[in-house]
C-alpha cells in the first residue's frame, strides 16, 4: 500500500511538503486530479499518480497546464472533487481557462495549486502568483508549514464548495521541498463519478452570459472577503505596539526571529494564510494600535500594497514598510537571519548577528554545474548538429528540459529561451528577421506541451529553419513522467493511447523530416547536414531513450569503454563532448567505468580510435 494511504488517524509520518499536500487531497476525498509536471510541484502529482493505481482516484498527466485545468474544470462542474496542480509558470499557460472559469465557477470542490519558486532554484522566473488571485477574483490560501499544507488542503476543498469557485492554493519551494512530521487525519472516500446538469445560460460564456457571471463573481468575492475576515488562517500572535504582517514561509522566520530576540511582549504578528481577498477590516484593526508595522513577504509587495491601502482608507498614518532598499528585497527568497536582522533594526531592538567565517583567504572552489549525464543522447545530438553546422552563422533557440543544459560550454548549443515551447515560435521570428541559420531544439514532452502550435505556424508561414526534436521517450527533467508519446506498456500500464511525434510532424505538413539515431555519429552528422540545406521547415527527430529512464526500467545494459594506450592525448573527447565519465589522472584522460554506459560517441570521434570497449570479466 502507498504510504500516503495509511489509514491511521493521529499517526505521525515524516513527510515532504509535496507528500503532505498529496495526503491532504486524499484526506479531502479528491477524486480527480490533473497536472503537467514541473518543479517544485512534481512530487505531488507523482504520489497521486501512484495512489491512483490503488484507489478510485482518477489521475492524469495532461498535455500541458491549460489542458490540465480545462479537464479539471469539467470534472469539477460534473460534481467531482478535483485537484489541479502545476508550477507557477504553468499557471501562465493555464491563465486563459483560469480567468473565465472564475466566472463559471464549480459545483464540486476544486483546488488549483501553484508552486512558486522564489530564487528560481529550478525555474526561468520567480513571478509571484498571488497576483493571479487579484487578476481572476479567486480566493487564495497559503500555508506556512508542511503540516499546515496538509490541513489547509482539506479546508481548500470545503471553501471551494462553499463559494462555488475554484480555490488557488499557493505554495513556495520551501513548503514543497521541506520535510516535517505530520499528523494524519481520516481519509474521506472519493466520489469518482458525477453528473453534468445542462445550464447553458450559466455555462456558455457568450457576452450576455458573462456579463451576468462577472457580477456573480463579484458577489462571491464579497462572500470570500467575509470568510477571510474571520478565517482561522488569518490569526494574530504575541502583543505589543510593533506589528509584523506576514504570509507563507516568512511566518516561520518571523516567529523564530521574535523568539530569538525575546520580543514577544513587544511585537505582535498577523499571519495571513487566506490572502485573497485580503481581510481589510482585520488588517485595519491590527495596525490601528501599532506604532509601526513591518510587512515580511517574499516576492512582490502584495500584502504591503494592500495594507497601505487599508491604512489610507482608515486615515492611519503610522509607518508601514516592507520592500525597501534597507529592508526587504523583491528578489529571491528570505532566510531566518535576514528576517531577524531586519526586524531588530526596524523596531530598534538589541541584536548581535552571528558572524559567518571570513572567506577572504579561501581559494575559489571549482564550479559544479549540473551536466548532461554520461550516456545522455542529447550530448550526441548536439555534437552532430554542431559538426553539421560548422562554418554557418547560427542561432540556436532552445527549450525547457534536461537538454537546456547543452547551452553550457563546451557544447554551447542554446542561444535563446523564454518559456515552454518558445524554441519553435522564436525560431520562426529569428528565421524571418535575420539571414542567420536557425536551428531550434525541443524535447519530446515539451513538443507535445506547446511546440506543435509553433510548428503549424512555421509550416503555414513557410519559415526557414530546422527543428530538432530530442525524443528520449520520457519527461526526463522532472522525474520521468509519461507524455503522449510514451509507450506506457513499457511500464506495464494499460489503457493508454500513444501519439507518434513523426506522425504529428508529418500531419501538420512539415515537408522535410528525418529520423536519426544520435549514437551513430557519422550518419547523424550527414543527415543533419542534409536537413540544414533544405529551404523551408525541416524537422529532425533524434530518437534515443533517456539513459536514466532506461536504467529505471531495467533496460540499460552498460558496456563501459576505456582509453587504451593508443591515446595520443588530443583530448577531443573531453574538450568537445565533455561527458562526465571522463576524468584526468595526471595528464591522462580516463573513463570511469562505473559512470560510462557505453554510448560509444567518444569512441567514434577519437582521432586515434583509442577508446575501446572494456572486455567483460570472465
Amino acid at each position: 500500500m502507498h504510504k500516503l494511504l495509511t489509514d491511521k488517524p493521529g499517526h505521525k509520518l515524516l513527510l515532504l511538503g509535496n507528500e503532505a499536500i498529496a495526503r491532504g487531497a486524499v484526506e479531502a476525498g479528491a477524486a480527480f486530479a490533473t497536472t503537467y509536471p514541473g518543479t517544485p510541484s512534481s512530487e505531488i502529482s507523482l504520489n497521486l499518480f501512484q495512489i491512483s493505481k490503488e484507489t478510485d482516484l482518477y489521475f492524469e498527466y495532461s498535455t500541458n497546464e491549460k489542458v490540465a485545468l480545462e479537464v479539471a474544470a469539467a470534472a469539477a462542474n460534473a460534481g467531482v472533487r478535483t485537484f489541479c496542480m502545476m508550477k507557477h509558470v504553468g499557471l501562465n499557460v493555464a491563465a486563459d481557462p483560469l480567468m473565465t472559469l472564475a466566472y463559471v465557477g464549480v459545483t464540486a470542490g476544486m483546488v488549483i495549486l501553484t508552486a512558486d519558486d522564489p530564487f528560481m532554484f529550478s525555474s526561468q522566473n520567480e513571478q509571484d502568483n498571488r497576483y493571479y488571485g487579484k487578476l481572476s477574483g479567486l480566493p487564495i490560501l497559503e500555508p506556512s508549514s508542511v503540516e499546515e499544507a496538509k490541513e489547509m488542503m482539506a479546508e481548500a476543498f470545503a471553501l471551494s464548495e462553499r463559494l462555488k469557485e475554484p480555490v488557488i492554493f499557493r505554495t513556495t519551494t520551501r513548503i514543497n521541498h521541506s520535510t516535517a512530521p505530520v499528523v494524519l487525519g481520516g481519509i474521506q472516500k472519493p466520489k469518482p463519478k458525477g453528473h453534468f446538469t445542462k445550464d447553458p445560460m450559466n455555462y456558455v460564456t457568450v457576452p450576455a452570459v458573462s456579463r451576468k457571471l462577472h457580477a456573480r463573481l463579484l458577489e462571491r468575492w464579497d462572500q470570500a472577503l467575509a470568510l477571510a475576515e474571520t478565517s482561522p488562517y488569518n490569526f494574530t500572535e504575541g502583543k505589543g505596539k510593533f506589528g509584523v504582517i506576514c504570509n507563507g514561509v516568512s511566518f516561520g522566520y518571523v516567529s523564530d526571529a521574535i523568539k530569538d530576540l525575546n520580543a514577544d511582549d513587544r511585537i505582535k504578528v498577523l499571519r495571513i494564510g487566506f490572502s485573497h481577498p485580503l481581510p481589510g477590516k482585520l488588517i485595519t484593526d491590527f495596525i490601528r494600535d501599532c506604532d509601526k508595522v513591518l510587512i515580511v513577504e517574499e516576492g512582490e509587495p502584495y500584502l504591503e500594497e494592500g495594507v497601505k491601502a487599508f491604512a489610507q482608507e482608515a486615515g492611519l498614518t503610522l509607518p508601514i514598510k516592507g520592500k525597501a532598499k534597507e529592508l526587504f528585497s523583491r528578489l529571491y527568497e528570505l532566510d531566518p537571519a535576514t528576517v531577524r536582522e531586519r526586524i531588530a533594526r526596524y523596531f530598534g531592538l538589541d541584536y548581535t548577528p552571528r558572524q559567518p567565517v571570513d572567506l577572504g583567504n579561501v581559494p575559489e572552489v571549482p564550479q559544479r554545474p549540473p551536466n548532461l549525464c554520461a550516456g545522455c543522447s542529447h550530448r550526441a545530438t548536439y555534437y552532430a548538429v554542431k559538426k553539421a553546422a560548422e562554418g554557418l552563422d547560427t542561432v540556436y533557440p532552445t527549450d525547457i528540459g534536461c537538454y537546456t543544459l547543452g547551452f553550457l560550454p563546451p557544447l554551447s548549443m542554446g542561444d535563446f529561451l523564454i518559456c515552454m515551447g518558445s524554441s519553435v515560435s522564436t525560431a520562426c521570428g529569428f528565421a524571418q528577421a535575420t539571414d542567420q541559420k536557425v536551428i531550434a531544439f525541443i524535447g519530446d514532452s515539451t513538443f507535445f506541451h506547446s511546440g506543435i502550435t509553433g510548428l503549424v505556424n512555421a509550416v503555414f508561414n513557410n519559415h526557414n529553419f530546422t527543428l530538432v526534436i530530442l525524443d528520449n521517450g520520457t519527461t526526463a527533467m522532472t522525474g520521468h513522467q509519461p507524455h503522449p508519446g510514451v509507450d506506457m506498456t513499457r511500464q506495464n500500464m494499460e489503457g493508454y493511447g500513444r501519439v507518434s511525434i513523426e506522425d504529428v510532424v508529418r500531419g501538420v505538413g512539415v515537408p522535410h523530416i528525418t529520423v536519426i539515431q544520435p549514437f551513430k555519429v557519422k550518419k547523424s552528422i550527414e543527415a543533419v547536414r542534409e536537413a540544414l540545406e533544405y529551404k523551408g521547415v525541416s524537422v529532425i527527430i533524434s530518437r534515443e531513450i533517456c539513459m536514466l529512464y532506461a536504467k529505471g526500467l531495467k533496460e540499460l545494459n552498460p558496456r563501459p569503454f576505456y582509453i587504451s594506450d593508443k591515446c595520443k592525448n588530443h583530448r577531443d573527447c573531453i574538450q568537445e563532448i565533455a561527458c562526465p565519465a571522463f576524468f584526468l589522472e595526471g595528464e591522462r584522460v580516463r573513463i570511469d567505468p562505473t559512470a560510462c554506459v557505453g554510448c560509444a560517441v567518444c569512441a567514434q570521434i577519437c582521432p586515434e580510435n583509442a577508446i575501446l570497449p572494456l572486455k567483460k570479466e570472465g
Binding site: 520535510t179 537571519a337 559567518p356 567565517v357 571549482p366 565533455a578 576524468f583
Partner: protein, 200 residues
C-alpha cells in the same frame, strides 16, 4: 528545546537525501522536533545537493549563512564551498576523498589542495573531523555507504541531539533490506573513526 542546525552538502548520487531522511525518521522516533529542507533540483545530473536539518523548537526549515552548528560535507571541496554556512563555533565533519567536478577535467577550475582545505577549516571553525569516508564505506562492504559513515561520524560529535541508538534503529527499518548490514557497519565505522579524531 534548544535549536541545533545541521547542514549536509554532497554531490548528486552520494546519498545525502537518504542520510537526511534517516536523521528525520530517527528524530521522530526519539521524539526530537525536526524540520528539514533540501535543494536537489538537478541531483541526478551531478549538481550539488544541500540539506538543512533543524532540530529543536524552530519553525524555519532553512539555515542562514554563518548559522550552522554543524556542517557535514560528503566531498572535501563541497565542504569548503559550504564554509559560508559556518561561524567560529561550528563543528565540521568532512569526507577526505575528493570527487573533482567535471569543470576541473576541462580546465575550468583548479581543485583545491586537500591539506589546504583542512587547515582552512581548522583555522576558521571550532573543530574539524576529517576522515576518508569512502575508504571506510569500502571497508564496510559498499562504497556507496559513504552517507552512513558520515552519519556515524556526525553522531559521534554529540552536536546533533540524537544518540546512535535511534539512528541505528532507523537504518534497520528504513534503508533497503539488502543493505542494512553494510549500512550499520558503515555507520559504526564512521562513529568509531570520529571518536579517534575527537581524541586528537
Amino acid at each position: 528545546m534548544e535549536t541545533t542546525r545541521l547542514i549536509i552538502v554532497a554531490v548528486g548520487g552520494q546519498g545525502n537525501l537518504l542520510s537526511s531522511r534517516v536523521l528525520g525518521e530517527a528524530a521522530l522516533l526519539a521524539g526530537v522536533p525536526v524540520r528539514m529542507s533540501e535543494i536537489h533540483g538537478m541531483a541526478q545530473r551531478g549538481g550539488v545537493v544541500e540539506s538543512a536539518i533543524v532540530f529543536g523548537d524552530a519553525k524555519s526549515t532553512i539555515i542562514s549563512d554563518g548559522e550552522a552548528d554543524i556542517l557535514v560535507g560528503f566531498e572535501p571541496s563541497e565542504t569548503l564551498r559550504a564554509l559560508n554556512k559556518c561561524n567560529s563555533d561550528t563543528v565540521t565533519v568532512t569526507n577526505l576523498a575528493p570527487a573533482p567536478p567535471f569543470t576541473v577535467a576541462i580546465g575550468r577550475g583548479v581543485y583545491p589542495d586537500i591539506d589546504r582545505i583542512q587547515s582552512l577549516i581548522r583555522e576558521k571553525t571550532r573543530r574539524l573531523i576529517a576522515l576518508d569516508a569512502t575508504a571506510l564505506a569500502r571497508e564496510a562492504g559498499n562504497v556507496l555507504a559513504v552517507n552512513m559513515v558520515l552519519l556515524g561520524a556526525m553522531t559521534q560529535t554529540g552536536i546533533i541531539p540524537l544518540t546512535a541508538d535511534p539512528i541505528r534503529e532507523t537504518i534497520q527499518t528504513k534503508t533497503r533490506e539488502a543493505f542494512v548490514e553494510t549500512n550499520l557497519k558503515a555507520f559504526d565505522l564512521g562513529f568509531q573513526q570520529a571518536e579517534c579524531c575527537l581524541v586528537e
